[in-house]
């Protein structure tokens, strides 16, 4: 034991063990982020081999162009907020509901979690088929029940397209959010509730004073994952609507891909850079917050 204390820690745990991971991460993750900041001030495009510095022109385009980039940024934020509310609140109550006293508890959990392991792409394709206005399952089922008036052009009608996207996203994600809450619920000692019962506490009182405070870590994790997912969203929108009808459901990452496909790389990197900087700032706060927790523990 004494010998262990004097062992040379830097020889036992050499820094070079981290180098391959660090180099890959820096070169293929961090460098493109910063290179993107540089390119966002240039007219880089597919059709010219020369790249010129153009100052804030790309950002001016984003702010003022009639292509409504600001609307796409707004859509991204709106998606992040709404999709998380729609998943987190029902998932919390479902987790409380399904935590105990269920017969085939594990079977239900396995089923509800399953969509989270599938590609978003596949989920998107399944629902694009099911929501097809004429031959899709949803509308055919509604019509066969005589509910023709409820049959909508789900992914085409401007009034229904966002609710349809949120519904599909929630269908996939609620099981995942719920599973995180269930893990949190299991860490709450039973005697807290027993003591509260003796004091005659109601369900809402127990929820407010025991369950929610004790679930803070789970709520944080769900928010971190949810916000990260929402701001970076691409697959599900690209597959379900490709930003349509018109450009109604365009988000940052679908717009970046369009600029890429069009060859206007400068504007594309500028849009990506806005997201990168915003998420780097949010991320630093989160990492600092997690760091503090670690110190407390």
């Amino acid at each position: 034991m004494r010998e262990g204390k004097v062992m040379n820690q830097s020889k036992m745990y050499p820094l070079y063990f981290t180098f391959v991971a660090l180099i890959l991460y820096i070169v293929l993750f961090i460098v493109p982020g910063f290179l993107g900041i540089y390119y966002s001030f240039t007219d880089w495009n597919r059709y010219s081999s020369e790249i010129h510095f153009v100052g804030f022109d790309n950002y001016k385009t984003i702010l003022t162009s009639n292509k409504n980039y600001m609307g796409y940024i707004g859509n991204t934020l709106k998606f992040t907020v709404i999709s998380n509310i729609i998943k987190i609140i029902p998932a919390l109550f479902l987790a409380i509901l399904l935590n105990e006293g269920l017969k085939a508890k594990n079977v239900h959990r396995a089923i509800l979690f399953f969509p989270s392991v599938l590609p978003y792409l596949v989920i998107g394709l399944i629902f694009r088929s099911m929501l097809h206005p004429t031959t899709g399952f949803i509308n055919q089922a509604l019509r066969s029940l005589g509910l023709d008036f409820m049959a909508q052009k789900w992914l085409v009608d401007p009034n229904w397209v966002w609710p349809s996207i949120y519904a599909v996203d929630a269908w996939r994600g609620i099981g995942y959010v719920m599973t995180i809450f269930l893990a949190g619920l299991q860490s709450i000692p039973e005697y807290y509730y027993e003591a509260a019962d003796i004091d005659g506490a109601t369900f809402m009182q127990k929820l407010r004073h025991i369950t929610l405070p004790m679930l803070t870590p789970s709520i944080n994790i769900n928010l971190i994952f949810g916000i990260t997912y929402g701001l970076k969203v691409f697959d599900i929108i690209y597959v379900l609507t490709n930003g349509g009808p018109g450009h109604m459901t365009e988000v940052i990452n679908t717009a970046v891909f369009q600029e890429f496909a069009r060859g206007t790389y400068g504007v594309g990197t500028a849009l990506s850079t806005l997201l990168f900087v915003f998420m780097a700032v949010v991320g630093l706060f989160i990492v600092r917050f997690l760091n503090q927790r670690e110190v407390e523990l």
Binding site: M12, F17, T18, G36, I221, K232
Partner: protein, 275 residues
């Protein structure tokens, strides 16, 4: 009086759970049933069983969508990334967790930041071109490995603490250098967390759609996700073939989920209690 009330609430619970599970199962059932129908039957997209099970839909989908190639590509990308990620992240997470100097803590949080950061794909393309990794199978695997570094380090880092430090020290006293100590003594002890990381990395690579969209131009290098998407565009009127295609894409993930459900769920929800 009290007991009957409890039972009523239990019944409601069961009913809600069953309805929720059905809501998840029904779309999959619909896809599977219709994948065996003829084109005409599948147009109705309902739950009536096919008159005859048309297994040949699967053969047609595989041939028309060139899925055999894509399937092998996806297997290669997913298993290659799985192996590289483990080899790269486990030593890094081990050293960062064992020796918490200021620099190491900084490196750890710098890496963890990547869980949140978005990738600038347009600029990434430039970097990949410069490294001659664009439109290359190996390039995609290396890129995926880089993308998995933050998550891999994060999960393994948390597990290293459960292995007593005395084991490292004993190995060093026996004369092992750091490589030997890590790979022959510690690495096997990390097995549970490594399996979790491997499963998640495999699924992450299998499910990814956006990266090959930017990085791979040649159709023969496409993974399943890209091929299925392009297949959907061409055969949207033939639900039977589209659905056979979807079933084929889900099948490997489904099998892995059945085999490793506990590790997958615990890995994907790790941090929920402590985090």
């Amino acid at each position: 009086m009290k007991s009957s009330k409890v039972k009523a609430s239990d019944v409601i619970k069961e009913i809600i759970a069953i309805i929720l599970s059905l809501a998840i199962i029904i779309p999959f059932l619909l896809v599977i049933i219709n994948s065996f129908k003829t084109k005409q039957e599948a147009v109705l997209m309902n739950f009536s069983l096919p008159k005859e099970f048309h297994w040949e839909n699967y053969i047609t989908a595989i041939q028309k969508g060139k899925l055999a190639q894509s399937f092998l590509n996806s297997i290669l990308y997913a298993s290659g990334t799985m192996a590289f990620t483990i080899l790269v992240t486990a030593p890094a997470a081990f050293v960062l967790a064992r020796r918490r100097t200021g620099l190491n803590q900084f490196i750890y949080f710098f890496i963890i930041l990547g869980i949140m950061l978005p990738i600038n794909f347009v600029a990434l393309m430039k970097v990949m071109q410069a490294l001659r990794l664009i439109d290359s199978r190996l390039g995609l695997i290396i890129l995926y490995t880089a993308m998995q570094v933050p998550f891999g380090v994060f999960i393994i880092y948390g597990f290293v603490g459960t292995i007593p430090k005395e084991i490292d020290e004993a190995a060093v006293i026996d004369g092992a250098g750091p490589w030997k100590m890590f790979f022959s003594i510690v690495f096997p002890l990390l097995k549970p967390v490594l399996i979790t990381v491997m499963l998640l990395v495999f699924m992450g690579a299998w499910n990814d759609f956006i990266t090959p969209l930017y990085i791979l131009n040649t159709a023969s290098k496409w993974p399943m996700t890209l091929s299925v998407y392009s297949f959907f565009g061409r055969y949207e009127s033939q639900w039977n073939l589209v659905f056979a295609d979807i079933v084929l894409t889900c099948l490997p993930v489904f099998v892995i989920y059945l085999l490793g459900q506990n590790q997958i769920v615990s890995g994907m929800t790790s941090g929920a209690v402590k985090g």
